[in-house]
Symmetry: C3
Subunit: 150 residues, 3 copies
């Protein structure tokens, strides 16, 4: 499908999504984002998610079997083990591993939206991944650029 | 170069690219994307690629020496070994490693387009990385937002 | 905040940022990007950064304690050690690890801009990560799509 330029048709919308976490976990944001897109009347365009932190990150991951999340957190622990001697230790033993895990995953995600729906695959969900031990309030900036319902 | 707002100049186009894979590999999509941009008459704008799967992913990688791809797949195998005990084993020993490899690489890519050409460096190619053993048909959503030829 | 379509309001701007590196390091580009956004008169929109290389990459990381950068480079060295036998050795022992590190981090970043400011968190900076030993000149394409000051 090609939508050629149509005068004045492209607009944009912003939102700040706030997520409460409690320790290492994947927190599903798919429904919240879907609700927001419906609320603003998004039709065709580009959705961007941006997490405003460096010790939590974003991922698109499988949404069916929660065991995948367990194994994924375990894999990140092996890739960024907390038992190593880090120079940066002032914020606790879970902080430097959290920065490394964030570097290995995503700070921003871009998802096309068509006919009001994100073009996610059947098994894809949008997740905030918390890498710190203690509860945190995480902010995700949402941005949509595209056409809107009248 | 600054292109200030020009009424009605910005439009968009969508496409679904289908890629047949046969086992772990990097599959070059650069030419297919280039053909699509020419077909729609893209001039200046932003191209987004989004893969609709969680056991295959996207990467921009070196396009000259195929040995780089061999070493890269080998590196991903070491980072997400299949010989480990995973909780999620129901879909086979290559499935959980595939999810981990996808998490460590990209689901979406954003590439600026100027004067009809992607601003890729000389040695950059766009790849679908298959992480599963068996052949799969993978879908990549393409989205272009920008100006078009008349 | 919702900005509904306003005829002719959305435009775009491109720039090529050139960065001189000297060995593995994180080089802060936040101020340079901020200056550019002010220069073009960006108001509300989407900023994309795209690095045109496969042995250097982009990251959003903590901007407060330089020890984080030391530990992060060390972590990347462990994930992509140069002491392994690689097939691709023709460009030196630091080249294949550099491609792997690039694959594990980012080639493109998308950052929402609101009221002329990037929506970065307090502790977030934008970095070019050099993975090669020798000095390089790296090019980062900047693209802004959104509204502009009159």
């Amino acid at each position: 499908m090609v939508t050629k330029p149509t005068g004045g048709a492209i607009g944009q919308a912003f939102e700040m999504l706030s997520v409460e976490t409690s320790g290492p976990s994947l927190s599903d944001q798919t429904a919240a984002v879907r609700v927001w897109l419906a609320h603003i009347g998004a039709v065709d365009g580009m959705l961007t998610l941006f997490i405003r932190h460096t010790s939590a990150s974003l991922l698109i991951q499988e949404n069916a079997d929660p065991d995948v999340h367990t194994d994924l957190l375990d894999a990140l622990d092996r890739l960024a083990p907390r038992e190593r001697p880090y120079v940066h230790e002032i914020e606790g033993p879970d902080d430097m591993p959290a920065h490394i895990k964030s570097a290995l995953t995503q700070t921003s995600l871009s998802i096309p939206v068509q006919a009001g729906r994100m073009l996610l695959g059947t098994w894809q969900g949008i997740y905030v991944v918390e890498h710190r031990d203690r509860p945190h309030r995480r902010e995700i900036a949402l941005h949509y650029l595209g056409t809107f319902r009248d």
